[in-house]
Structure formats: C-alpha cells, structure tokens
C-alpha cells in the first residue's frame, strides 16, 4: 500500500472523530445549562425598594435573592461615628465612604459573615448590629469589630433609580 492511503484513511477518521466531538459538546451544554438559574429566577435577580417612609435612625429589612438586606437611613451621629474609625482598629479594614456612597443610606446583606445567621439591629457594643449565634459585633457601617466573623457585612450592587427608590442587584 502506498503512503497516501493510510494518510487519507487517517484523515477521514480524524475528521469524523472531530466532527463527532463537536456534536457531543453541543449535546452536553444544554443538559448542563438547564441547571443554571432560569429566566423566572433571573427576573427576580434585582428588586426595587421604596424607601420613602424610612426615617433617619430606622432600618428596614427586605428580601433579595432569598436573603435579607438591611437598609438603614443613618443619623448624622451614626455617620460621624462610622467615619471616625481608624483603619488599624478594623478586623476587615474598609472605609465608610466605600461602603455607603450616599452616607445617609447603608445597604448591606443582613447575613453574618461567620456562619450566616441574621444579626440583630440596634444591638451590640458598637451601636450597630449584634449576631446572637456566636457573638459578632458590627458597627454603624456594618463592619465587624468584635467576635468570630472575618468580614464586614457584604454590600451588594445597588443604586437609587430615583429619590425614593433603591434598585438592588
């Protein structure tokens, strides 16, 4: 047999395998992707909250993507206190202005970064939140100050779509 024949045979088989592999991939993808969030879940990926009734010093809790979100309208004292903390004193150093673009409004996931319990409002040694599960204390910026939690409460993506409405997510 001449040298050409094996080469052509090999090419045909290689081409067949390659084309076949593409097909296998195309079949596998939908089977994997169907487990990703579906359209109805993605539609609830962001939520709009009317905050017009929230007075300074008060906090509301809303549900977003199945988790609680604290929205607190801070008093000038709380804001001042948050800004005066030195970075070296923080377990998880973060500036208050990086956490609250508009200092009057604090928006964060009400989930303790230790093991996921929901911290209690207006409790604890730092005028912020206290997690009763294992004793984590958060300050007026939602930052961890004392206790086993490693990180500050997470600030999700949010924006004011108008003066009264915050869109989270």
């Amino acid at each position: 047999m001449s040298d050409k024949k094996p080469k052509r045979r090999e090419f045909l088989f290689t081409a067949t395998y390659a084309v076949g592999a593409v097909g296998v991939g195309a079949v596998v993808w939908p089977l994997v992707d169907q487990m990703n969030p579906d359209a109805s879940v993605k539609a609830l990926a962001s939520t709009e909250v009317d905050v017009s009734s929230v007075q300074p010093g008060n906090t509301i809790t809303v549900l977003w993507r199945g988790k609680p979100v604290f929205i607190r309208r801070r008093t000038p004292d709380e804001i001042a206190e948050a800004k005066s903390v030195k970075m070296e004193d923080l377990i998880h150093p973060e500036k208050d202005e990086d956490r609250a673009k508009d200092p009057e409004w604090l928006v964060m996931l009400g989930v303790c970064t230790h093991l996921g319990c929901v911290p209690l409002n207006d409790k604890g040694d730092y005028d912020g939140w206290f997690c009763p599960c294992h004793g984590s204390h958060y300050d007026t910026s939602g930052r961890i100050r004392k206790g086993p939690a490693p990180l500050n409460m997470e600030v999700p993506k949010y924006e004011f779509v108008n003066a009264n409405t915050i869109k989270i997510g």
């Binding site: 045979r9 045909l12 088989f13 081409a15 067949t16 084309v19 076949g20 593409v22 097909g23 195309a26 359209a39 109805s40 539609a43 609830l44 709009e48």
Partner: protein, 259 residues
C-alpha cells in the same frame, strides 16, 4: 424490500387522504401566509405588537394568559417591545401582593417579573360572568386546538349569518368553523374596533391575523430559536452522517467479500 415499500406507500396514501377532522359540518379553514411557518420561519415583529394590542384591548377582558410574564414582551423572539415600553405596559396593571409588615394584602403596579394579570379571580368567576362558559386561557390555546392557527384565524372571521333551520339559545352564536357550529362567544372583532398604534387599518381580517400571530408566539415563545437550532442540528447531522458513511465504507472494504 419491494413488499415493504409497497406497504409504506399504501399507508402514506391512507394517512394523507383521511384528514383528521372532528365533524362533518365544519368547513375547510381560511388560508393565509404565516411568516413563522417553514424551515426558516420567523415572527413578524409588527404583527406581534399589533396582535398584543388586539389581545389587550379586546380579548383580555375575558381571556387570561396566565403563563406569560410581562418581561416576555421584551425578550428576543417575541414582540420585542423596548424595556421602557414593557415597564410601562406592566405598570398599567395592578397585582395583589402581600402580606405587608402589618399582615395585610395590598395592591401594587405590576413589575416585569409578574405574570399577566387575569381578568377574573378564578375559573368559577369567569364562568359566572360569561353565561356558564369559561373563556379559555390563551397561553397555549393555539396548541390546544387541532386546527391550530388556521382554526383560530378562521373562527374569528367565521361569524356568518345563521343558516335557515338552525335555532340558537340565548347567548349562543353561529360560527362556521367552531366544532358543532355553536359558540358562546359573540363575534369579538369588528371593523375599526381598535385603532392600531402603527396606523395599520384595523380590518377584521387584519386583526384576526395579528392576534393569531401573537397567540402563536404566546404558545411557542422559542419558536424562532427552535427553527434556527433545528437547521444547524440537521445540517450538522447530515455532515457527520456523510463522514461516518465514508468511514464505514473504508472499514468494511477490509472484509474481502461483503454479503
């Protein structure tokens, strides 16, 4: 092999000469070109948007479409209203929500994620308001009727004068294409009953076609994707089949005598 082919052709003949019609009296459906039929069928966006208008202004007062969400109106493959338009459409409807912090149910404007608001609270309320007949939900109506889009299109235009010798009860109307010829819905469309936003003349035929197109999309929102994917899938399979065929011939050539 010959016997098999003979049998197959007799069967195919049998199958196609006996059409699956439900009753002897229903006439053949009106025919029109549907842009979404065929291998490369697509929806006419304008028709879908006009159809939505007909649905909302004429049909939605009695017929729910409970499996659709407002966001569907902006998604690819459908009427493709802009996000602002869809938000406005949604906001024009009110939905029940709650309980709120006081434990009370309340009413709020609909959001994109909400399902289409239903005209009646439940099926019984719908029946009570319509002389005992339930106006069927339209989410999959086109697939729920044997004649499909041709049937719905014809029915909307099939309110002929009652032929001699047929008496109808109160609240029952004659329709040429309805199974049994009696229908409890009065003719829903009449010339100029709505004014199309894009200026198209609102004849009964035009509205029938537009709303039927809209109903087809409502029942099969992924139709265009399905057609496009189908074309690619079958083309791919044909290519792979050809490659495998030649591979097969190559391999079997090693066998000295094929039977």
């Amino acid at each position: 092999m010959k016997n098999f082919l003979n049998l197959l052709s007799i069967l195919i003949l049998l199958f196609f000469t006996t059409t699956h019609s439900n009753s002897a009296e229903t006439a053949k459906f009106l025919k029109t070109d549907w842009s979404f039929k065929g291998l490369f069928g697509k929806f006419d966006r304008g028709s879908l948007q006009r159809g939505y208008q007909v649905y909302t202004e004429v049909c939605a007062s009695c017929h729910s479409m409970k499996y659709l969400s407002y966001r569907n109106l902006g998604e690819k493959g459908g009427p493709e209203f802009s996000e602002a338009e869809v938000k406005a459409i949604a906001a024009s409807f009110e939905v029940n929500d709650g309980p709120n912090a006081d434990g009370e149910m309340f009413v709020r404007p609909a959001k994109l994620s909400d399902k289409f608001v239903m005209p009646y609270e439940n099926v019984k309320a719908a029946q009570a308001a319509n002389g005992g007949a339930y106006p069927p939900d339209m989410s999959v109506l086109v697939k729920a009727r044997g004649g499909g889009v041709d049937y719905i299109y014809s029915l909307l235009q099939g309110y002929d004068a009652v032929p001699a010798g047929i008496t109808l009860d109160d609240g029952v109307y004659y329709n040429k294409y309805m199974y049994g010829n009696k229908i409890k819905m009065a003719a829903p469309l009449s010339e100029g009953i709505i004014e199309y936003g894009d200026g198209t003349e609102a004849t009964v035929e035009q509205m029938s076609k537009d709303v039927t197109t809209f109903l087809m999309w409502a029942a099969e929102p992924h139709l265009e994707t399905r057609h496009q994917m189908g074309f690619k899938a079958i083309l791919y399979l044909i290519i792979l089949t050809i490659l495998v065929y030649f591979s097969m011939k190559k391999i079997w050539s090693r066998v000295e005598s094929e039977v």
